[in-house]
């Protein structure tokens, strides 16, 4: 029986069967006879999450431009579907042609967050593919992985044949062309890895050997194949106007997390927040021209029929021509009956005008992200927002009729004290006071939400050497805030669970010895760790024990500048000197200015063209 026939018997028994059928508008199903190489883009989470991801749409359509190359999709099936697939012996398949993943040529996982690693293993197993690279003979596809977590992919080093560092618009297609050449040459898999190892952004973990000191820190990272590069530099697109951008987004049949067309306006960020990995790894800033943005919008609406479009970037307001772009977009959207969404706007007067316009009926709520409760701590993390900024923005919002305001903070930041936590409470009290003393407000009700997440130090940031707070410390801080905020009226306090943060911290800065833990975790049934209903901390602790790994070694330890970090051979273009300088300045509580004003010598311009470097 074919997979299609098998599916017909089970799909009515699962929740949201449309997740598993493919066939959406703008999805691409190629003729079998045209395909010389099949790449499956595998997203280690559910359809609704994966389909909301811009990177998937970019990679999918960029690769499918080549006639001989097919890029197809696979997502992690939800639990009900997984059970039925296993019972009926249906392997994980691609949505487009229902090809079992084990029959693909290359399977590419995207590494968006550390808590999805267990799903990768589970998906490989569902595909009937051995988990470890060394156990996969010539008959199995290559397994690759890219995305932000690929900048420290060491915990997956034993499972993935090669990693992709950086941006894939052109690189992915180049690799598949090399793959076709290699396949026709009839040589072994190792030959292919040797051939691509010198391409920009390709990291073949098995070509490097890691040795350890007695204290478990890394002694050295040595090449096992002499032609492999000493350090692997990321690959990026120099010019976004020339880079490929999809205008035929796949349009899902069912509602997904972000069910809208996305127009990416720029990449990178100049703010230099010291905790922020995205702000470091996506450098340099590259803007798309206004003209190109408008073209993309026109094409995308025509091709998708989406009712909502959003402008995406790390920090929308920082686009150099943001006012005319937004004005133009609002105009177009009004004409086309389309709603416009502008995430990550800075709340200045311009933004308020825009928000007033696009949310005039339904005021959905405003979000501020001061990240820390006091000026001192904001100086430490280099978040250049002042108390005054927060209060005047809140006052403005109340005057214009918003009643729902959200604040995001991090707890467990380096140098944090309870005074900084009190600062969060003060902000909440002060906001409430502003609301009450205001006469000309439109909304009668006020709802302040304070959310805290737990700071997790990330590779390639100035904070990569800092220890993370332990779970007890974080919980005590949460309790402290909960207790204090309980006494402030109209305030809701949400906080992120400490157990998942702990795990995220271990894998974010982990080394390749954690591969063993991942295998154990898979065997113990860990999956969907980012989902509260599935996450099982005890299973993880058991897996650490069984693999003889001390997780605290990775989290609760201050690293020295001269320690060899597991990602020492991976280069995002930002220099170690810069990271050290920023780390020192953090300890001195001094700000570094936004580098759009003055270059801060992060080193990115040494290898890449930086528009902001003058």
């Amino acid at each position: 029986m074919s997979i299609e026939q098998e599916l017909d018997k089970i799909l009515l028994k699962v929740e949201k069967p449309a997740r598993y059928i493919g066939g959406e508008i703008n999805s691409i199903t190629k003729k079998q006879s045209d395909i010389k190489a099949r790449f499956v883009f595998a997203f280690p989470d559910t359809y609704e999450i994966g389909m909301s991801h811009l990177g998937m749409q970019i990679i999918y359509h960029s690769m499918n431009r080549e006639k001989n190359i097919a890029c197809e999709r696979a997502f992690a099936p939800a639990n009900d579907m997984e059970q039925l697939m296993r019972e009926n012996n249906i392997p994980l398949y691609s949505l487009e042609t229902k090809t079992p993943l084990k029959d693909a040529d290359v399977i590419g996982f995207t590494l968006q967050y550390e808590l999805s690693y267990s799903n990768i293993l589970n998906m490989l197993n569902l595909s009937q593919i051995p988990l470890l690279s060394k156990d996969r003979d010539e008959s199995f596809p290559f397994i690759t992985a890219g995305g932000p977590c690929a900048y420290n992919p060491e915990p997956l080093a034993d499972m993935v044949d090669f990693f992709l560092l950086g941006e894939g618009e052109t690189l992915n297609t180049e690799i598949m062309k090399k793959y076709i050449e290699w396949k026709e040459s009839g040589t072994n898999k190792i030959e292919f890895l040797k051939q691509i190892a010198s391409m920009p952004g390709i990291y073949v973990p098995s070509f490097y050997d890691v040795t350890y000191n007695d204290d478990d820190t890394i002694k050295s990272i040595d090449k096992l194949y002499e032609n492999a590069p000493d350090t692997i530099l990321k690959n990026i697109e120099d010019n976004l106007d020339e880079a490929f951008y999809p205008n035929k987004f796949i349009v899902p049949f069912i509602d997904i997390v972000h069910n809208r067309a996305m127009v990416e306006i720029f990449r990178g960020c100049t703010r230099g927040c010291r905790f922020c990995q995205a702000g470091m790894i996506y450098r340099p800033v590259r803007e798309r021209s206004m003209e190109k943005i408008q073209n993309i919008y026109d094409e995308i609406i025509k091709n998708t029929g989406h009712e909502e479009v959003s402008l995406v970037s790390l920090s929308t307001s920082d686009y150099s021509n943001i006012e005319p772009v937004v004005a133009e977009m609002m105009d177009k959207c009004r004409k086309d009956n389309i709603s416009l969404s502008l995430p990550s706007l800075r709340l200045d007067s311009f933004s308020f005008n825009v928000l007033e316009d696009i949310q005039s009926y339904k005021k959905s709520g405003l979000t501020f992200a001061p990240e820390a409760g006091t000026q001192r701590l904001r100086n430490v993390i280099n978040k250049s927002i002042t108390d005054e900024d927060i209060y005047s923005a809140a006052e403005n919002a109340f005057k214009l009729g918003w009643g729902n305001i959200k604040f995001y903070f991090m707890i467990g930041l380096p140098t944090e004290t309870y005074e900084d936590l009190d600062g969060i409470v003060t902000i909440a009290q002060r906001i409430l006071h502003i609301f009450r003393s205001l006469e000309e407000k439109k909304s009668k009700r006020i709802n302040i939400t304070i959310s805290t997440s737990n700071f997790v130090p990330k590779p390639h940031t100035p904070f990569q050497w800092f220890p993370m707070n332990n779970m007890k410390e974080l919980e005590e801080k949460q309790q402290y805030l909960a207790e204090k905020l309980k006494r402030v009226k109209n305030v809701t306090y949400n906080y992120h669970d400490v157990y998942t943060s702990f795990l995220e911290g271990v894998f974010a800065r982990g080394d390749r010895r954690l591969s063993k833990t991942l295998i154990k975790a898979f065997e113990n049934g860990c999956k969907f760790d980012g989902w509260r209903e599935y996450f099982d901390f005890d299973k993880w602790m058991k897996s650490f024990e069984e693999s003889e790994i001390d997780p605290y070694f990775y989290n609760i330890r201050k690293r020295h500048y001269d320690e060899i970090l597991p990602w020492a051979h991976l280069d995002v273009g930002v220099s170690k000197e810069y990271l050290i300088k920023e780390n020192t300045k953090a300890c001195e509580e001094t700000l570094t200015l936004d580098c759009r004003n003055q270059c801060t010598n992060c080193g990115i311009n040494k290898t890449f063209k930086c528009e902001k470097y003058k």
């Binding site: 009515l12 059928i21 508008i25 049949f253 025509k302």
Partner: protein, 235 residues
């Protein structure tokens, strides 16, 4: 007025797409075809597009109806061509008629639905099935449990579905299996879901039919008129 009645099919994998999602599929297809739907006035405007009788998940159809109101006037044939170019595999327009008579809604006019129920033969022979159908229809009452939600409380009610069955007959025997043709009361004045009917038939007659392999196809929706029973777009 620019109102149209559209007849369409929903087959293959599209049977897994729910009613609400189908509405989105159409709205986006209209936008891609650059045909402007009329919107309701008021606080939260919504497009004037409604499907006559939503289909349960898992049922295919070659007799679906939808009414739409457009901003501009369009030639029905052009409309059909333009939309068919924009619809995913498994959904397509069969006909478009301009609405001339003023009616409240086609949904309110629906009286009957015709369905084809097919399933593999298994151990069941023709005469056995024929007898089961006969005996089933001879029952004085055919009672099924109907789950309802009233005032947020779930209640279960026993209802007699026999008066809702207007036709239930063995249509043909093919190599793959049997086909039953049935005409059921459909719409707001009494409605019988073919899945409920088949469940009851299988249980009452103690038949060995695998419900997972049952395939249901809606063939047509009808209304009563002076001319007798006619398809819903002929009112």
């Amino acid at each position: 007025m620019n109102k149209y009645i559209i007849k369409f099919f929903k087959t293959g994998n599209m049977k897994y797409i729910s009613h609400l999602d189908i509405m989105n599929v159409f709205q986006r297809a209209f936008r891609r075809a650059e045909i402007k739907l009329a919107y309701s006035q008021g606080f939260s405007p919504h497009p004037k597009l409604s499907i006559a009788h939503p289909l349960s998940l898992g049922i295919e159809s070659i007799g679906e109806y939808m009414e739409v109101e457009l901003v501009d006037h369009h030639n029905p044939q052009d409309l059909q061509l333009a939309l068919n170019r924009q619809l995913p595999k498994g959904i397509g327009l069969l006909s478009v008629k301009e609405m001339t008579k003023k009616i409240k809604s086609i949904a309110a006019e629906i009286q009957f639905g015709e369905y084809e129920l097919s399933f593999p033969k298994g151990e069941l022979d023709y005469s056995q099935l024929e007898k089961a159908i006969h005996d089933f229809l001879e029952l004085e009452e055919i009672l099924v449990i109907k789950k309802q939600k009233k005032k947020r409380r779930k209640i279960e009610k026993e209802v007699n579905i026999k008066p809702l069955i207007h036709k239930f007959e063995l249509q043909e025997e093919t190599e793959e299996g049997y086909k039953i043709n049935t005409l059921l009361k459909t719409g707001s004045n009494g409605n019988l879901n073919p899945q409920v009917l088949m469940n009851s038939f299988i249980n009452e007659m103690e038949l060995d039919i695998d419900k997972n392999l049952l395939h249901i196809l809606r063939k047509e929706l009808y209304t009563d008129s002076e001319k007798g029973i006619v398809t819903i777009d002929e009112i």
